[in-house]
Amino acid sequence: MTGRSLVLVGTPKGAFILESDAARRDWSIRGPLCDGWPVHDISVEPGTNALLAGAGSPWFGPAVWRSEDLGETWTHSSEGLTYGDDGPKVATVWNVTAGLDGIYAGVEPAGLFRSTDRGRTWTHVEGLTNHPSRPEWGPGAGGLILHTIVPHSSDTQRMWVGISAVGVFETRDGGASWQTRNKGVRAEFNPENRFPEFGQCVHKLVMASDGGELLYQQNHCGVYRSSDGGAQWEEITGDLPSDFGFVMTAHPRDPKTVWNIPLTSPEEGRLMPGGAAAVWRTHDGGETWIRSGEGLPQKDAYVGVLREAMAHDDRDPVGVYFGTSTGQLYASADEGRTWSRIADNLPPIWSVEALAVD
């Protein structure tokens, strides 16, 4: 069968690429890539299929890596990826996402950078750092990190970002100014004000395929949907076995289909409930959820899945992929109904992305 299917994996010990054909049954693996640097996130630049890896070395600092030959060779740069000599030191890149007008990098401590020359140089998006709430931003368990970047699908002036444990922000003027987008989202760890303007612990934010107003969010406290670009959120946790989790990914063509992996609460280990691995999906925008564990271990599976570690490709049927914090990688070639393990001995998996090339 023709076509190449790639699963891009970020780990604390480098990036890895699994490759198959369009059938997505048999997989080969190559790596570690990016010289074994800790890679928090890998994404794909639409149009060029360049691979972008957000990374940070304990010795050599943060950088965005770029490959224009599907991971065979890489370059890297952090030129301009700084808050200045008097500012806080950038520890690592947590997210790298290509938008319509350039590439964006989210870093720790939380901030946003933009490159308009394919990642060679970077410029601080100061509008977000200058938000009036910035002095009150506090870190989540993973640090004060800008971990999610969601560009609008057609409007270069609009973008959403997620910061732990600060919440969601949106810009409608190309990054010059930002507004909080957390209305309706619970902050149970703040009993004096369960619905603050900001301070919610967003874990993942994804955009549906319908053009830019329908968003889904996995939060520390629940799963949510917004039909107005984040202005108001409605909880859709429903009958999921937990309101806690990290990952979420949205169908590339059906705006009401989303995949999610509930985990036990932080106090209970952040594991798949009951030692039985499962991916849940909705086909009605979160009104109802369907569990799928077929092909996944259903006994003694004490595994977790981290924030960036689930993705989908755009084939028909859609392939869905997730990696565990203990190095197993699972794939579904039938939109999340059945699963198979395609790698078993990787380092802890921090991020997963998928790419179909025909």
């Binding site: 010289d35 010795w59 050599f60 600092g61 890297h76 952090s78 030129e79 500012g87 030191k89 950038v90």
Partner: protein, 93 residues
């Protein structure tokens, strides 16, 4: 007596040199201080300074620089012909 016009010899760890096609494990460099030596290397290996230096500028937390066997800071003088070693600290897991 050291000749101030002689270049320093900078020894780069493999994990740093391998990041740049232009870099070698041993490179001559000019500069009166460690910072000037790093900047001089950066003119021939663009991006190398960003891997060695953090904001401040300062030497990255988990790197050490030695000049003729003595731990150095960015303003440490580098005599002509000095041996400069960039050493990754013992960290990570």
């Amino acid at each position: 007596m050291t000749d101030p016009d002689r270049p320093a010899v900078v020894h780069l760890p493999r994990s740093l040199a391998s990041l740049f096609p232009q870099a070698e494990r041993r490179m001559d460099a000019h500069g009166a201080t460690v910072l000037e030596v790093v900047r001089d290397l950066d003119t021939r290996v663009p991006g190398l300074a960003n891997r060695v230096l953090d904001a401040g500028p300062s030497i990255r937390r988990h790197l050490n620089v030695f000049v003729d066997g003595q731990i150095a800071a960015l303003d440490t003088p580098v005599p002509g012909g000095a041996q400069v070693h960039v050493i990754p600290a013992v960290s990570g897991g």
